[in-house]
Amino acid sequence: MTPLRELNAALHGPEPEQHWCVLNPRGAHALAAGIDAAIEVEIDGHAGYYCAGMNKLATVRVHGNAGVGLAENIMSGRVVVDGSASQSAGATGHGGLVVIRGDASARAGISMKGVDIVVQGSVGHMSAFMAQKGRLVVLGDAGEALGDSIYEARLYVRGQVAGLGADCVEKEMRDEHRAELAELLDEAEVDADASDFRRYGSARKLYNFHVDNAGAY
C-alpha cells in the first residue's frame, strides 16, 4: 500500500506522470487533493472526504462513491464520480466541472463560486445554498430549500423540486439557457434534452437588507 502522503506528494511533484491509477483507495480522505497539473487520476473504488479538493487542471475519476466535500473549492479541471457523492459536493468551487453519475446529498454546490456541477441523480436539501456563480444541473429531484439565499448562480432541474429557499425563484427558460445547458450536458457526457429542465435563480430581493423583508431571513 502506498501511503496517502506519498501519493499526494507525487501528484504535487514538479513533473508528475500523465496518467495515475489509485487501486484499493479504501475510502481514504483527501485523495488526489491539491493537484495543480493537467494529469489524469483514476480512483478505482470509493473515496472518503475531500477527494480532489481544490483541484486545478487535473481530471479525477472516481469509479465508486465519494464522501463529504467532493472537489471542494475546485478551481479548474474535471472531477467525475461514477457512483453517488455525500454532502457538500463541489462546495465553494470556483471553476471546472464536477459530474456525479449517481445522487448527491445535502448542500450540493453550497457557496459555489463559478464551478459547474452536473448531477445525474437527485440532490438533497439546501443544495446551492448561497450559491454565488456557476451552474448546478440536476437530472433527478432537488430536496427542500433549493438555492436558499442564492446570488448569481443558475440552477437547472429536470425532476421535482421539494421547495425553494429564501429569495430563490423559478425563472423563464429562454433559448440562451437551453443552449448553455445543452452545451454543459454535452460536456458532462450526459444524454438529456435541455428543454425538459426548469431554471431557478435569485429574485435579488435580499441583496440589500430592508426591514420589510426581515421575515425572509
Partner: protein, 430 residues
C-alpha cells in the same frame, strides 16, 4: 433633574433610534461596556524573595515559535504580538499594506480576513497567515501555498456564532471580483463552514489542508471565547498547531451591537480554562495559545502571557496606531456625525482616515509607509513595556512570566484569572 441609572442617555438614544429605523444597530469596533479586564490585575514585581533583572543590561527575550507541532515550517516571530485577521474589504488596500509593513518591520505576522489575500498584503508581509472562513471568499490553493500559516476561523470574539458582514457601500468593483459577488450588495457570509460540521469533520478538513500544502504550513484554529476549555481541547484533538482565542472585546468591522455587547466571555475569563485544556492534554507550549480581544498595551500583553498565552494578537489597537480616530480628523468625523475617539461606523465605508473604506479618494488619504512606521513604533513600545514588567519580575523571557507574578484588584478578576486578591491569599472559587 435626575438621570436614570437604568434608562441612561445611551439606552434612551438606542430606544429612540430603534423606534425610528426599525432595525438593530450595526457598527464596528469592539465591546464598549466595562467588563473585567487586564486593568484589574497587577504585577507584584521583585522583592526580598525574587531577583529583578537590570532594565538596560540583562536580556529579556521576546521570540516565539508557532506551529512546530505538525508543520515542517513553523513561524519564528521576534515578538509575541501579532496582527489579527482583518479583511481587504473591511479595510482599504493601503491600510492592509501598512499592517504588513509595520508587522514585518518588527518581525511579526499579519493575517488576511474574510475576502482573500491581496498581492499588496503578501508583498509587504514577511509572515502572512491566511484565513479559511465559512464564506471561502477568494480562497484558492495558490494563495494557500503562498501563505506562511493557515488559520481556520470557527468564530471571533465580537460575534461567536455569527457570520461576516460587509455592507453594500464597501462592495467596490475590486472587492466584488475577489468575492465573486455582485457589486453593491449587502454581503452576509455564512456562520458555519460549508464542508465540515463539528470537530470530527474538522480533523479531516485539517488533514486535507495539510495534504494540499504538503504538511509545510502551521494550521491555527480561531475561536471566539465562549467555552474555552472545550473549544481548546477539541481544537487540539482536531490537530491544530495553534489555538487563537478571541475574547468578547475583540474588534469587528461590522456586527450587530447586540451581538458585540451580549455574546461571548471576556478575554480575561477565557485564558485560564484554555490553558487548563492544553495542560490536561500535555500540550501547553507545544500547541501555542494566541490570545486576542482588547489588548492595548505591553501591560495587557504581559498579563496575558503570564496567564499562559504564548502570544497575543491586536486588531483595533493596530488600526488606532495606523491613524484611526486621530484627533486631527475631528472636523471630518463631525461631518459624518461622529467625533475623534468615538468613531465606530466602520461598516459605512466613509472613514476620513482612509482605513475602513473602499472609496478610492478616502483610501488615498492614507499613507501606507507612514502608517506602517506608526504601527512598528507602537509594537516596539508594547514590547518594551512588556519587557520592563518581565524584568521587574526577574524574568529573562516574556514566556517566563507566570500567574504567581500577578494579583487581582477585584473579586471578579481574581476569580477569572485565578490569582489572589491583592494583599490576600484568597482566590474566590479556588
Amino acid at each position: 433633574m435626575r438621570e436614570s441609572a437604568l434608562f441612561d442617555r445611551n439606552t434612551i438614544a438606542e430606544i429612540q433610534r430603534a423606534a425610528r429605523e426599525g432595525i438593530y444597530d450595526i457598527r464596528g469596533f469592539g465591546a464598549k461596556r466595562r467588563v473585567p479586564h487586564f486593568d484589574d490585575l497587577l504585577f507584584l514585581g521583585a522583592s526580598m524573595s525574587r531577583y529583578p533583572l537590570e532594565g538596560y543590561r540583562e536580556r529579556c527575550d521576546t521570540d516565539v515559535t508557532v506551529g512546530a507541532r505538525h508543520a515542517a515550517k513553523p513561524l519564528h516571530l521576534d515578538i509575541p504580538i501579532t496582527i489579527a485577521g482583518m479583511s481587504f474589504g473591511a479595510l482599504s488596500a493601503p491600510a492592509k499594506e501598512a499592517l504588513g509593513r509595520g508587522a514585518s518591520e518588527v518581525g511579526t505576522s499579519t493575517t488576511t480576513g474574510d475576502g482573500g489575500m491581496t498581492p499588496e498584503e503578501r508583498e509587504h508581509s514577511r509572515t502572512l497567515v491566511y484565513q479559511l472562513l465559512p464564506s471561502r471568499y477568494g480562497m484558492n490553493p495558490d494563495d494557500l501555498r503562498k501563505a506562511d500559516a493557515i488559520e481556520i476561523v470557527v468564530g471571533q470574539g465580537a460575534k461567536p456564532g455569527g457570520g461576516g458582514m460587509l455592507l453594500g457601500q464597501k462592495i467596490s468593483d475590486r472587492v466584488a471580483e475577489m468575492r465573486d459577488l455582485p457589486k453593491g450588495i449587502d454581503q452576509r457570509s455564512a456562520c458555519r463552514h460549508p464542508d465540515w460540521t463539528g470537530p470530527d469533520d474538522l480533523e479531516i478538513k485539517i488533514h486535507e489542508l495539510r495534504e494540499i500544502t504538503d504538511w509545510q504550513k502551521p494550521i491555527f484554529i480561531k475561536v471566539g471565547a465562549t467555552r474555552p476549555y472545550f473549544d481548546t481541547a477539541l481544537a487540539v484533538k482536531a490537530g491544530a498547531d495553534a489555538v487563537v482565542l478571541d475574547g468578547m472585546q475583540g474588534g469587528t468591522a461590522a456586527t450587530q451591537e447586540v451581538f458585540i455587547e451580549h455574546v461571548g466571555i471576556p478575554t480575561l475569563a477565557a485564558i485560564r480554562p484554555a490553558v487548563d485544556a492544553l495542560q490536561d492534554l500535555d500540550v501547553h507550549r507545544e500547541v501555542q495559545l494566541i490570545v486576542s480581544g482588547g489588548i492595548r498595551s505591553g501591560a495587557d500583553a504581559a498579563k496575558a502571557l503570564a496567564l499562559g498565552a504564548d502570544a497575543v494578537s491586536i486588531g483595533v489597537a493596530a488600526l488606532i496606531a495606523l491613524g484611526d480616530n486621530a484627533p486631527e480628523l475631528d472636523a471630518d468625523y463631525a461631518e459624518i456625525g461622529s467625533a475623534a475617539g468615538f468613531y465606530d461606523d466602520w461598516h459605512e465605508g466613509r472613514d476620513p482616515a482612509g482605513i475602513s473604506t473602499q472609496d478610492d479618494e478616502l483610501a488615498a488619504r492614507f499613507d501606507p509607509e507612514l502608517g506602517g512606521r506608526r504601527l512598528a513604533n507602537y509594537l516596539r513600545t508594547m514590547v518594551l513595556e512588556a519587557q520592563t514588567l518581565a524584568r521587574a519580575c526577574g524574568k529573562s523571557h516574556l514566556h517566563n512570566l507566570e500567574p504567581e507574578d500577578l494579583v487581582a484588584l477585584t473579586l471578579e478578576a481574581s476569580a477569572m484569572a485565578r490569582v489572589p486578591l491583592a494583599g490576600t491569599t484568597w482566590i474566590p472559587g479556588a
